[in-house]
């Protein structure tokens, strides 16, 4: 297939059913693409051909027997390397887990495989999902397939690059402050962060437990919806997963969008927004209006406090979650004369600079004498940011903003200045703190050919309506505005 018509879940299914290709041939074809392109992109950290071909053979056997195929039969997928895969190395982009092989599958992985998907391998990411450019991986940066001198975004940079580069049909990423939506925007593909609790976090190696979410990258909203239908839903192994019934996303997505009220918050269009990004997002909003949506101006007064709030809460949770890497039970151990020395040497050698910086910031924010000034204060501001969203959703059905203030930046451009890197998440962390779902979809490219992302937030558990807007936008040609 040409690059202009990438494989989709539907086209894989049709080709398998018509016996134009076998699942094994398709998997081989994708591994050939990876062999060819990935030395440049560095999107994959580990390939899992044994598991992929075993699964492909099961699909092919079902085709041969004339059985009905499960919904994702034979679909080649990639999985971010912070998501556990039984028997397949899972490093979190960190040296400290260089040789770690999980003894179980994450629920999302298990559900995808039960639905027939073929797991090609594990994708590169910022170490423990901490970063906005994929340059914090211990295994080297990922390049943006659209513009290889640029970052793919982060932290799910490998998953975004794999799908945008045609090395997987869909991929799982994780989003804590923007780590699905921002790389989706930079690589020019739909990328969905579901509602907090919508997808089980069982097997997702924790960064910030009140923020972490698993979600899909795809080339179409339809494919993102198809993946969500499989991975969404409660799970007894994750007490924060919500036992809220899962909608029929494939049916919801095709509903008309006439009369949908879209809120446009002025707070997301202020200083720091690149003029070409502004222009493209405004063009995207105008298209939604032509499709029958009603545009309603909004003011979300606490938007400007979101980055400060996020970097306290996320690092506080991270400092606690990452305490488990001590060289005792798994991962790298650097010997020491005493237990404490072993901990210190192991963590010094095993963690990269950004992870240490965030552990330090989080430990500081939680330490005696500073808890009230930082952590408690941030938790209160988080309430105000969540209230901005609930107030807005009294008046509108969806909120539309730019995904990022600029298009993809160059490799190395922001590595020396952590605060500048954090500010790349300015429009995405709000929805992370509020727990709402959000999708980034392409809304054309800059003159230099860099993708621009438009973000759509919905109410809690309203993935269906969000995907519906994305689908209508795509069908109307919005992706190439």
């Amino acid at each position: 297939m040409s690059a202009a018509a990438p494989w989709t879940i539907a086209s894989v299914r049709a080709a398998l059913q018509a016996r134009k290709i076998s699942a094994r041939e398709l998997a081989s074809d994708f591994y050939a693409r990876i062999d060819k392109r990935d030395p440049e992109l560095n999107a994959f950290l580990t390939l899992s051909p044994e598991r992929a071909f075993a699964q492909a053979d099961r699909v092919d056997a079902a085709v041969t027997r004339g059985e009905g195929l499960p919904p994702l039969a034979g679909v080649p997928i990639a999985v971010k390397d912070v998501i556990s895969t039984k028997g397949i190395r899972t490093t979190c982009g960190s040296k400290i887990l260089e040789h770690y092989i999980p003894p179980y599958d994450a629920t999302a992985v298990e559900r995808l495989e039960e639905a027939g998907a073929v797991i090609l391998g594990k994708t590169n990411c910022d170490e423990f999902a901490m970063g906005s450019s994929n340059e914090n991986s211990a295994y080297g940066p990922v390049r943006n397939p659209i513009a290889p001198d640029r970052v793919p975004g982060g932290s799910s940079g490998g998953s975004a690059a794999a799908v945008a580069g045609g090395l997987a049909v869909v991929a799982l990423g994780t989003d804590t402050g923007g780590s699905i939506r921002q790389p989706g925007a930079y690589c020019g593909i739909p990328a969905l962060m579901p509602t907090y609790g919508r997808v089980s976090r069982y097997g997702l190696i924790a960064f910030a437990s009140s923020l972490d979410r698993i979600g899909p990258f795809a080339t179409t909203p339809d494919d993102a919806a198809a993946v969500m239908s499989i991975i969404a839903g409660g799970d007894e192994n994750d007490s924060t997963s919500a036992p809220v019934p899962v909608g029929d996303y494939a049916a919801e997505i095709a509903k008309p969008i006439e009369g949908v009220r879209i809120g446009v918050p002025e707070d997301y269009f202020g200083e720091g927004l690149d003029s070409e990004v502004r222009e493209k997002v405004q063009a995207g909003i105008a298209l939604l209006e032509r499709l029958g949506c009603r545009r309603i101006p909004l003011h979300m007064p606490h938007t400007d406090y979101a980055i400060a709030t996020y970097y306290i809460i996320a690092t506080a949770e991270a400092s606690s979650n990452l305490a488990r890497y001590d060289g005792v039970r798994y991962g790298v151990r650097v010997p020491g004369a005493t237990l404490a020395e072993m901990y210190r040497k192991t963590r010094e050698r095993g963690f990269g600079a950004e992870v240490k910086r965030r552990i330090m910031l989080g430990t500081y924010a939680l330490s005696a004498g500073y808890y009230d000034a930082y952590y408690l204060r941030a938790q209160k501001v988080r309430s105000l940011i969540a209230r901005d969203f609930s107030d807005a959703f009294q008046k509108v059905d969806a909120i539309v903003t730019p995904t990022t203030p600029t298009p993809a930046f160059r490799l190395g451009e922001k590595t020396a200045d952590p605060l500048q890197m954090y500010l790349a998440d300015i429009y995405t962390v709000t929805g992370s703190l509020a727990g709402v779902p959000g999708i980034s979809i392409p809304t054309g490219k800059t003159k230099a050919g860099l993708p621009v992302g438009m973000q759509i937030f919905g109410r809690h558990f309203a993935e269906g309506p969000v995907l519906q807007l994305a689908h209508a936008f795509e069908r109307a040609g919005g992706f190439s505005l």
Partner: protein, 101 residues
């Protein structure tokens, strides 16, 4: 200045991180800049605001109680987990001596 060199050393100890003198200086400067930025939260009057201890709204949680019966179920992953350990003496993990006699 929000954070001193001594603060950085104390926090590194709490977090079991061994930092070189260069790292201490680098992190002090970077953390200071980040904490200064975070200082903007002090602009807000939060006297009547509750901290957000749960992500989903209350009414959503009430419909779906989080507590369920405590039921034992088998979990037979101990050998697989011990196989990952840097130094295992099944069924134990071995670590340097903690108590001197």
């Amino acid at each position: 200045m929000k954070i001193s060199r001594e603060d950085v050393i104390r926090v590194a100890e709490l977090a079991h991180l061994e930092l070189s003198p260069q790292e201490i200086d680098l992190y002090r400067g970077q953390l200071d800049e980040i904490l200064t930025y975070i200082g903007k939260l002090e602009e807000l009057d939060l006297t009547s605001v509750e901290p957000m201890a749960q992500v989903l709204l209350k009414q959503e949680n009430d419909e779906h109680p989080e507590l369920r019966d405590d039921v034992l179920s088998p979990c037979n992953v101990a050998p697989a987990i011990l196989a990952q350990a840097p130094d295992a003496a099944p069924p134990f993990f071995r670590v340097p001596k903690v108590i001197d006699r």
